[in-house]
């Protein structure tokens, strides 16, 4: 007898594919997190331990090493630069891609061209974007720097990403709410400020987080456009070829912890927002 396709009805018995796919999912999780857990563990290696197991006298030595100003890299400075760049990139991405998402709600001449420009920018091999911008700055006699060429290079990645995410967010916006506001006499600005942005806020926060972390970890577009002052990923990139100590793992653990922290804060904010809304709906 032919088995049934799984449906939402929990009374139906689980088909065998549930267990097969469940096992696949579990293996994928091990595959995804296994190596990461290994380097987090190894970053607590003792001062005399190597880059593999076993761990000899666990310590925080390599975390202290990250803070020590080495000959090669100044990690705290690079970190603060990365944070500053990511904040600016995230803010710009949110404002510009929210506006872009709103623009695409109605047909306008050239919409197709803009869309293909966005897709092209998204699929363009990252290093080539940096290469082109580097050539451009050279051509016009400009010095590449953090908030000019590097920021621009990162925006060619975060903006298309942000716009596509906004499509998904805006798709679920019911225009009746905006029309209701218009009928009540709200100006276009008031509609954006008091209706559209508050309703889309969870999605907008998601875009902000994505843009921040994508910029914070970006290296391929940045490497040829950064000029003299390196960001954190570029310092890590430089360290890989020179240092083979557990310090690299400690650095990896720290920078991943920053990403996890940001993801956690964003999730917390979004969940609280949704809970409040549900609470308001009930009362």
């Amino acid at each position: 007898m032919a088995e049934q396709y799984p449906t939402q009805n929990p009374i139906d018995a689980r088909p065998w594919t549930f267990y097969a796919l469940g096992a696949l999912f579990l293996l994928y999780m091990l595959f995804l997190y296994g190596p990461m857990v290994v380097i987090y563990t190894l970053s607590f290696q003792g001062p005399n331990g190597g880059v593999t197991f076993p761990i000899v006298d666990p310590s925080l030595e390599w975390f202290r090493e990250v803070w020590r100003k080495g000959q090669m890299a100044d990690i705290p400075v690079a970190f603060s630069r990365s944070m500053a760049l990511a904040s600016v990139a995230s803010l710009l991405t949110v404002v510009i891609s929210v506006a872009g998402g709103l623009a695409f709600r109605r047909p306008f001449p050239g919409a197709g061209l803009v869309f293909y420009l966005v897709v092209a920018s998204l699929v363009m091999p990252s290093l080539l974007v940096g290469f082109g911008i580097g050539l451009g700055f050279q051509f016009f006699g400009l010095q590449p720097d953090l908030f000019t060429s590097a920021l621009g290079a990162q925006l060619t990645w975060t903006l298309p990403f942000g716009l596509l995410a906004m499509f998904a967010v805006v798709n679920r916006f019911d225009r009746c709410w905006e029309e209701a506001a218009a009928d009540l006499g709200a100006t276009p600005f008031q509609r954006v400020r008091h209706v559209i942005v508050p309703i889309l806020l969870p999605g907008i926060l998601g875009v902000a987080l994505s843009a921040f972390t994508l910029s914070y970890d970006e290296y391929a577009r940045t490497t040829l456009t950064i000029g003299a002052r390196n960001t954190l990923p570029l310092e890590i990139y430089a360290l890989i070829s020179s240092a083979t100590t557990p310090m690299l793992f400690a650095l990896g653990t720290l920078t991943t912890a920053v990403s996890f922290l940001l993801i956690g804060i964003t999730l917390f904010l979004v969940l609280r927002m949704q809970q409040r809304r549900q609470g308001k709906l009930r009362s």
Binding site: Y5, L32, M36, V38, G100, R106, P125, S126, P188, L209
Partner: protein, 319 residues
């Protein structure tokens, strides 16, 4: 790939069509009080994005198209129109080998990520019935994408090395007596790192497509006597074409544009188009690098337009 937006999309399949219907009505009267025509408002809203992409993406791309025809020597580059840079690429067997190897990696990684991505997305959407658990499992898949790709790549080194965790585990369990050498600094480790980095790019779009499938279609197929396999091949797969195409575009272009993973995980034994190109850039050979870049852009453009022919991504995304 839509980050926070993706998770919340799950389970809202029924709402998706509503804005689309409104959209079909011209203008829906929303902007009737503003003095500007609606399309001008749209233009103003899209202007900053277009301007930045034109200056930071279209202009530089045009520039390296031009430079690919330039002449160069050790001290600089000179405007010219010559095809030597391209001729060198097509006549050098080592360059062609690099192109072949990049295409090989792209194909292998695409097949594996598609298999993993589709099955995992399918599991999450159709098999995990509890909405909260589904969101948690989704986040588990998505979170690593928002952490450093460099760190995720080098995380494989202490795991796969000769004295690494995996070999130690195998020997500890007496599965092998000596460490396996092929695990690290080989084509194998390059593929492993790619699959690790890019599978989330496949899961996201496919799950988004699957979540939009109207469940009543599946029940209808069942009522009409379709087996599970028939339902899968005739209903579910065709309806997730958009996600498959979008995920494929993202994975393929990421692999084709990579230079770090291939260098790091092959231990310098393999090269990719972009890693060869970055070596040329470091050697200040900008015109041949630009010619390589142009060819890569053409390959990527052909690939993406083929996939976009399969589905009208724009129509699917902008509803």
């Amino acid at each position: 790939m839509t980050g926070g937006a993706r998770e919340t999309h799950i389970g809202h399949g029924a709402n998706v069509d509503a804005p689309a219907k409104l959209h079909e009505m011209p203008e829906a009267g929303v902007d009737r009080r503003s003095r500007l025509p609606a399309w001008v408002v749209s233009w103003l809203q899209i202007l900053p994005l277009t301007a930045i992409l034109l200056v930071m993406f279209a202009l530089p791309t045009t520039l390296f198209l031009a430079v690919s025809f330039f002449d160069y020597d050790r001290t600089g580059i000179y405007p010219a129109f010559m095809l030597d840079n391209y001729r060198e690429i097509f006549t050098s067997s080592s360059t062609l080998r690099v192109y072949g190897s990049t295409l090989k990696f792209t194909l292998i990684v695409w097949v594996i990520t598609l298999f993993l991505g589709f099955n995992i997305a399918h599991f999450l959407i159709f098999h995990v019935l509890n909405g909260k658990i589904r969101i948690v499992l989704f986040l588990l898949c998505a979170v690593p994408f928002f952490t450093s790709a460099i760190i995720r790549t080098i995380a494989w080194i202490p795991f796969l090395g000769r004295t690494g965790a995996f070999n130690q585990a195998l020997m500890g369990l007496h599965i092998t007596t000596r460490p396996l050498d092929f695990l690290l600094f080989s084509d194998f480790s390059v593929v492993v790192a790619y699959v690790h980095l890019y599978t989330p790019l496949m899961i996201g779009p496919i799950a988004n497509s699957l979540s939009k499938i109207d469940r009543s279609l599946i029940e209808a197929a069942r009522d009409a006597g379709a087996s599970r396999w028939q339902t899968m091949t005739n209903v579910v797969v065709p309806l997730s074409k958009t996600g498959i195409a979008l995920g494929s575009i993202l994975v393929m272009t990421q692999v084709m544009g990579d230079f770090f993973v291939v260098r790091q995980m092959s231990g310098g034994q393999s090269a990719s188009i972009v890693s060869a190109l970055s070596t040329e850039i470091q050697a200040m050979q900008h015109p041949p690098a630009a010619a390589n870049a142009m060819i890569l852009v053409v390959i990527v453009a052909i690939m993406v337009s083929c996939l976009m022919r399969v589905v009208d991504i724009r129509k699917e995304l902008v509803k």
